[in-house]
């Protein structure tokens, strides 16, 4: 089948998609956007989190056909040119990135949290917002610090 959707501001027409393919597979294998990661294929780890029509979703749980006509924003679409999003900067600075496999999904989920939060969210709010994203390397502490730092630098509703 053919799937037509907008990815990171660009309209994409993807042909020969097998009906069983997920949005994640189409992004990674057919659109050249491997930033979203596949770590569990069942919506448990959050590594594949992308915005679909403004809402964070696990792209592994979205059938490609469900994205028809939709708007998708992935981790590749957060930086403006070479200027990183404040969250991306803060993740690198705080040591929130080790192996980095969970990082794209965590950054999209945290980006969504800050987009709907004025000021610096409380730790409990950060924890609740990121509870669907597994990280195996960091123990999460430096991730929380990165979100706080980015929020303090004015990342947030724009």
């Amino acid at each position: 089948m053919r799937v037509t959707f907008t990815v990171n501001g660009e309209e994409r027409v993807v042909d020969d998609v097998w009906e069983g393919e997920s949005l994640l597979y189409v992004l990674r294998e057919r659109c050249g956007l491997p930033g979203s990661k596949n770590a569990c294929e069942q919506g448990e780890c959050g590594s594949c989190t992308v915005y679909l029509d403004g809402t964070p979703v696990c792209a592994c749980l979205v059938a490609a056909g469900q994205a028809e006509g939709g708007t998708v924003r992935t981790v590749e679409g957060l930086a403006e040119g070479h200027r990183l999003d404040p969250l991306q900067e803060a993740f690198v600075e705080c040591g929130a990135v080790q192996c980095g496999f969970c990082t794209p999904g965590l950054i999209v989920a945290a980006h969504d949290l800050l987009a709907r939060t004025d000021g610096v969210p409380a730790d409990t709010e950060i924890r609740e917002a990121l509870a669907g994203n597994l990280c195996r390397c960091t123990g999460y502490e430096q991730i929380i610090e990165a979100v706080r730092l980015a929020a303090g630098r004015g990342a947030g509703p724009s």
């Binding site: 990661k37 690198v92 990135v97 192996c99 496999f101 597994l134 123990g139 502490e141």
Partner: protein, 781 residues
């Protein structure tokens, strides 16, 4: 001189420069092994055994081969070289030969033009099995001669006794005993096994793969392909975590076989379920301990039997047994020791390396025993540990003298002195915040039935490879002018698995050569082996190799400086106190001699060095005696928990850790190791277990295998001490594993303190906390 060097360069040893791969990782551009792609690439898939023990009577590939889109279907008959591989014993078939020994053992592999086609082809392969009853009881495998054999060689992979004094005759005022059980933990790295094999024109293959040790992979792959090692070239692809699970081969040989057969690039990416079958796990263990002590809590003897279930293939079981045996008495002075550690074959999933291996299992048992001893003697749990703690100059159970700082008393006193965490998190309305309570937003309690407990744990871990292994690492360092500026290229085969080794290699080069601009080349087999990214050894070993190569480069630069001085007519005498700083050759006494730009011209200075730690010795096979370890490392934890004693739910309120690292090389990365290691220990304490019944894994998914989420992890306090080890580069001590040892017993001790229950297995289950468990925890399955 050292101090001045460091002040001259930013991003050197002791700083926390940003990771060179950081920006790529946060923008999604970093190429993990699962992200690789080539024109004409095929996808691989693996057919695995549903049975833990069976004879294979037939394999029919007909229907699989017929499926459109399928390019190759291979079995063991297609393996051109050695049929088996393995880290220590080469006992694991590349593809099953005549029988399977664990559920998930690979039988056939397929290459097809779409991953789904490859999977469907696997489903069309018809395998005839004669199913046999699996060997699943590790204790029986170890001790019952009538137990069926998993391999013809017998079921014991290694039995290592340790004997000091006469533990069987020793008597004591106070005796505490216990039988402890450690469940099978999974490394659960997030980036599943994956890689891309590309056939080469010379008949060899180039493999891009996520691994922990390129050269040990290369050696095993080449042997099985029947190719010389130089025609099997490996390059490290982006690694999504490792924690030991990538020490053993997974898809490497399979991808190479299919690539060579089809003449096309072949990519494998395991899904999460397959990943649970695709790598080894942490050895489950049953540990029986008896400690005798004086009435004031000083240890007189320890007797222990430790049985580690290695599953179907040996993997690193021998080393796991060595660690459990040599460190089984813990970081304590004990005059009489009788430890017997066994690693056995069963038809359970194969087990091998995971962070802290061997030492983790023992630590849970001996620390549980120390708490029992404290209770029996009426002592504070920290006090009983301090009374028995090793210190510099002490002798451990193997007779090895701890010839480096061992500030255990200080570590324990510091962790005890941390202020206690707040009683409870309250929301704006003054009511308790559900997120801070056991059960969380499941809303199972508002504080009723919740009891707080505090517990401690301390561990001892060997750093680097032990027992006489020729442990070494190689580094090539090149200094040259690029665009008129001095630049350094560091090339090693060391695997960056997330820990920050790429950052550290550059830091060392900056400090040693006084040059800002340092690039770390991609790791591959074009340079000598760096050994494994495991055993907390890479800062020590590859760090040591980079430092040695830099020193060799520096010596040549100083010689060039002499030539430069002579050419300038400034005399042939070279000052003895030369150093490199800020891109210049400087002398303490005479100031700047020359800039590197003036000295180097078009010349590149390149040196390669192999680094070895001081030699270790095998353990005596009967007594375990011998200087088997390179270095010891220590971490201590305090855990504070709230337990819902009615529902058996635990909320860890705070974890505090104090660790001695000899010398801090990168504070941010170090803290990440302590926090992350502590999280894995918390997971083992409370939730992480591959549940195996009759040799079959019941929970191969992230839905059913639980790792700590951000809601499970409490805020952590960390403190780091720096008592340099005189034998180690920069005085450093390996840091990755020790936190994984001590957090598990600390958390369980805290739950015991809250509940008063004995809690002898990890992960603890709600029914053990509430007291509704059946007699044998394993009955609950």
């Amino acid at each position: 001189m050292t101090t001045r060097l460091e002040s001259g360069v930013r991003g050197g040893i002791g700083d926390s420069p940003v990771r060179p791969d950081g920006n790529l990782k946060v923008t999604g551009e970093f190429a993990y092994s699962s992200d690789l792609w080539m024109d004409g690439m095929l996808w691989g898939a693996t057919l695995r055994s549903p049975h833990p023990r069976a004879r294979i009577t037939s394999v029919d590939l007909t229907e699989a081969v017929k499926l459109p889109g399928v390019h190759a279907v291979l079995t063991h008959e297609d393996v051109p070289g050695a049929r088996c591989y393995g880290l220590d014993h080469r006992d694991q078939p590349v593809l099953a030969i005549d029988r399977v020994r664990y559920q998930g053992e690979a039988i056939a592999i397929v290459a097809a033009d779409h991953p789904e086609t490859a999977r469907r082809a696997c489903e069309r392969i018809v395998v005839g099995y004669e199913v046999e009853e699996p060997v699943t009881d590790a204790r029986r495998a170890a001790l019952d001669p009538a137990c069926p054999k998993v391999h013809e060689s017998g079921n014991i992979v290694r039995h290592q006794p340790v004997r000091v004094g006469d533990a069987s005759a020793a008597t004591a005022d106070v005796v505490v005993t216990g039988e402890y059980e450690v469940g099978m933990q999974d490394q659960a790295f997030l980036g599943p096994e994956s890689g891309l094999a590309v056939p080469a024109e010379d008949g060899g293959v180039d493999l891009f793969v996520a691994t922990q040790w390129l050269h040990v992979d290369q050696e095993q792959i080449a042997a099985c392909l029947g190719l010389p090692a130089e025609r099997v070239r490996l390059t490290l692809a982006g690694v999504g975590g490792a924690f030991g699970a990538r020490e053993d081969l997974s898809m490497q040989i399979h991808a190479c076989l299919l690539a060579l057969r089809t003449g096309r690039p072949v990519k494998f990416v395991y899904g999460r379920e397959e990943s649970f079958f695709g790598h080894v796990h942490r050895h489950p263990a049953v540990l029986r301990y008896e400690h005798g002590a004086t009435s004031d809590g000083r240890l007189v003897y320890v007797r222990a039997e430790i049985i580690l279930d290695g599953g179907a293939y040996a993997s690193s079981t021998p080393a796991v047994v060595g660690n459990a045996a040599s460190l089984g008495a813990g970081p304590y002075n004990v005059p009489n020791v009788a430890i017997d550690a066994y690693g056995v074959y069963t038809n359970n999933p194969p087990c091998g390396a995971m962070r802290g291996f061997g030492a983790v299992q023992a630590c849970f048992a001996y620390e549980s025993q120390m708490d029992r001893l404290a209770e029996a003697c009426g002592l504070d749990p920290v006090e009983v540990r301090i009374r028995n703690a090793l210190s510099e100059g002490s002798t451990i159970a193997t007779g090895q003298v701890v010839d480096m700082p061992a500030p255990l008393t200080d570590l324990l006193e510091r962790v005890r002195a941390f202020p206690p965490p707040a009683a409870r998190i309250t929301g704006e309305d003054g009511r308790p915040d559900l997120l801070g309570l056991p059960g969380g937003v499941a809303n199972t309690t508002h504080g009723e039935g919740v009891v707080r407990g505090v517990g401690y744990g301390i561990g001892i871990k060997n750093i680097c490879y032990s027992e006489g292994f020729d442990d070494h690492s190689t580094a090539r360092v090149r200094l040259e002018l690029v665009g008129g500026e001095p630049a350094v290229l560091v090339h090693t085969a060391a695997a960056e698995v997330g820990q920050g080794l790429v950052t550290l290699q550059a830091q060392i080069a900056r400090t040693e050569l006084g040059v800002d601009r340092v690039t770390v080349a991609p790791a591959d087999t074009a340079v000598g082996s760096a050994g494994s990214s495991s055993a907390s050894r890479q800062s020590y070993m590859t760090g040591g190799a980079v430092r040695a190569a830099c020193a060799a480069v520096r010596a040549r630069v100083f010689a060039l400086a002499g030539r430069h001085l002579a050419a300038e007519g400034r005399g042939g005498r070279v000052p003895a106190d030369l150093a490199l700083a800020d891109g210049k050759v400087v002398s303490e006494s005479e100031g700047v001699i020359a800039t590197l730009a003036e000295i180097l011209h078009a010349e590149a200075v390149e040196e390669t060095r192999e680094f070895r730690h001081r030699p270790t010795r095998p353990m005596d096979p009967l007594t375990g005696q011998g200087d088997s370890h390179t270095q010891f490392a220590f971490c201590v934890h305090r855990a504070v928990v709230d337990v819902d004693v009615e529902l058996g739910l635990v909320k860890v309120v705070e974890l505090a850790a104090v660790q001695d690292v000899g010398r801090i090389l990168n504070p941010v990365a170090l803290r990440g190791q302590i926090l992350g290691g502590s999280a894995q220990g918390l997971g083992l304490a409370l939730m992480e277990e591959i549940q195996v019944r009759d040799g079959v894994i019941r929970n191969p998914s992230f839905t059913d295998y639980l790792i700590p989420t951000i809601l499970d992890m409490p805020p952590m306090r960390t403190q780091v001490l720096e008592h340099p080890d005189p034998h180690a580069p920069y005085g450093l001590r390996g840091a990755g594993e020790p936190p994984t040892l001590s957090s598990t017993p600390a958390v369980i001790a805290a739950v015991r303190a809250a509940t008063g229950r004995s809690l002898t297995r990890v992960p603890v289950r709600p029914e053990h906390i509430t007291g509704h468990a059946m007699d044998k925890p394993s009955d609950l399955g």
